[in-house]
Symmetry: C2
Subunit: 370 residues, 2 copies
């Protein structure tokens, strides 16, 4: 049995349920391997809502539009419904509900039903209203936190794609170009590596003010010599997110920027040396925050997060997190140093927690000469 | 009162309800003016789920994350809830439900409640379960079909943005470049015009096989002399979608391609001459299908669709549609001519239905020399 399906079943059982129904894009992707299209948001051509129904006996059912019927997944039953069409009148939404009911009946769901509470639509209530229901989320997030071998392969690919974007960023960031012009080169490098359009989130910001506010998408601002830049790239590749952050200064970096960069870089080094199974996550966050504060800079951010079919997964690297790191977690570590007089530096690598330390999955280098 | 709010209220009343609750991205955007972020799908930084509660007395309430509290809308009450945070433990989903319940209580909703049935989450059922409920969709789609003056301004801007992308397409499409390379230039032209990242859907396909299958996103395929190309661009600008389609052949167009192009071009001309209030939409679709068939080509597509905060809105230009065109509808017309031995041509303009004809909102020209 697919390991993610097995972990989904473990989460359904840990929730005290017999069946699990999943409706969120990342929940469907995790439990069935069917990658839900999200690049341009809800789109008539990207497929309608999908539904995964998982039984604790290993049955894995998937409901998708006819447009998506041939896409890969490990579902052993697929019911498709008519999505985009033009020849005869059709009601996509009614088709979805009918197909979902058909799948529920075919599989014979019953007992206690675990649902993806945050995304479960009221329209599917008739499928589950005569059964008792529980939220699968508390158990599901724990199962998802430990990645399988296949997931590590997929996350490495996403990390290498983000890294290709970061190399393009260091090449493309030149005085006179706009943030959007640089971002077009960066995005093209990532998309050409995979050969398709990719959902991409993150930041591309320049100048003292924008980088010390630390978050934002690219605009028409033109880069000048002496500008600090932050490029945070999170592409989704084959359903799995990569993430990364690089910072740079155009031209010869100022002494103030070098100090700022050095604080973030040494914090990242500290994190890489610290990460291993058993480390309390809140303590790791506090040690990075303290490190930056000792250098005299502020740090208005978390220190990172887990990553998988969701871009931010549990556990996040925040001061109040009491969970410990475990083998085969994949985490982002992203120390930030901010100084309103200079700007911001954020450096972020993707780390795979191994038996006795960590492996860096991203493979881009820092700005040459820093 | 804002005209879209007034139309939303008209739809709630026509549904036989006293209050309306909206949860879909386009429903929230239409009813409150709050533009829901969708570019990279659900994102921890792009805001959580939102909710609009509209009373037939004109009250307009909006529930969004703290990240979005300052974004424009015409809501007279806004309740924000904590979304992304790192200092103290928070449950974004519980925050959303609490904020939604607070808003419902503040406004004093009651009587009959109209809901956005396709997207309404089960988690908000406690807000409405003691009231009777109806679906707002049948009335809402009719109200939304007639655009206000402000909406025409927004749609014109989206059409001009799509047109800037189409001009970039004709410039960027050269032998030796990949579809993704061309698309990067096209996207940059649209995004630079607006100064921000834009959700973009559509197609960019090349070669006989891909264009005669007529749909698809760009990949690494390299363009060769003699290749037909289709570029369909739908950017979302300030919450309103633009749409457009151009076709081209690299190098000197072949006689076969010129004939194919001419069939689609004359069909588009026929549509522009035909469109006026009172025309039965199904008859328009059939006349365009017939026109293409008389030229000896196939046409496996609808003839167009309405457009607004949703990229495909009702009414669509399909053979079974008995609705007539009305003043201030904004429709896409997109005749297609396909020949498996040559490829495909699709030409699409955005038309605003006026008192006695139509105005073309897009402003790009056909491939020079065709």
């Amino acid at each position: 049995m697919n390991e993610r399906l097995a972990r989904t079943i473990a989460a359904i059982k840990a929730s005290g349920a017999d069946w699990g129904l999943f409706t969120s894009p990342d929940g469907v992707a995790y439990s069935t391997g069917h990658i839900v299209s999200i690049e341009a948001g809800p789109s008539p051509f990207a497929g309608g809502p999908s539904l995964a129904i998982i039984g604790t006996d290993g049955q894995c059912g998937l409901v998708v539009t006819n447009l998506e019927g041939g896409t890969p997944s490990w579902a052993d039953r697929i019911v498709t419904y008519e999505g985009f069409s033009y020849k005869d009148p059709t009601d996509v939404f009614a088709n979805y509900r009918t197909a979902a009911a058909e799948m529920a009946k075919e599989l014979g769901i019953g007992g206690v039903i675990a649902i993806d509470e945050q995304s479960f639509p009221l329209s599917l209530l008739p499928l589950v209203e005569r059964f008792s229901r529980v939220s699968v989320e508390p158990a599901f997030k724990r199962e998802r936190a430990i990645k399988s071998k296949t997931e590590i392969v997929l996350l490495r690919e996403a990390a290498l794609t983000a890294s290709a974007g970061q190399r393009a960023f260091l090449q493309a960031a030149r005085a006179g170009r706009s943030e959007l012009e640089i971002f077009a080169d960066v995005r093209l490098a990532m998309e050409s590596r995979i050969g398709e359009r990719l959902p991409v989130t993150g930041d591309l910001i320049s100048g003292k003010e924008r980088t010390s506010a630390f978050m934002g998408w690219p605009g028409n601002r033109r880069i000048a010599t002496g500008d600090p830049l932050i490029c945070d790239l999170a592409p989704r590749v084959q359903g799995y997110w990569g993430d990364s952050c690089a910072s740079a200064m155009i031209g010869t970096p100022s002494p103030g920027f070098l100090k700022l960069y050095s604080a973030a870089k040494s914090a990242l080094k500290l994190a890489i040396e610290t990460v291993r199974p058993g480390v309390v996550i809140g303590a790791l966050d506090r040690s990075l925050q303290d490190h930056i504060h000792r250098h005299g800079y502020s740090y208005a951010h978390h220190s990172g997060h887990s990553i998988g079919t969701g871009v931010h997964e549990w556990p996040r690297l925040v001061a109040y997190e009491r969970e410990t790191l475990k083998k085969d977690m994949v985490i982002m570590v992203e120390p930030t140093a901010l100084d309103p007089d200079i700007g911001g530096v954020r450096l972020e690598f993707m780390l795979h927690v191994t038996d006795d330390g960590c492996e860096i999955l991203t493979d881009f280098a820092h700005q040459p000469g820093i």
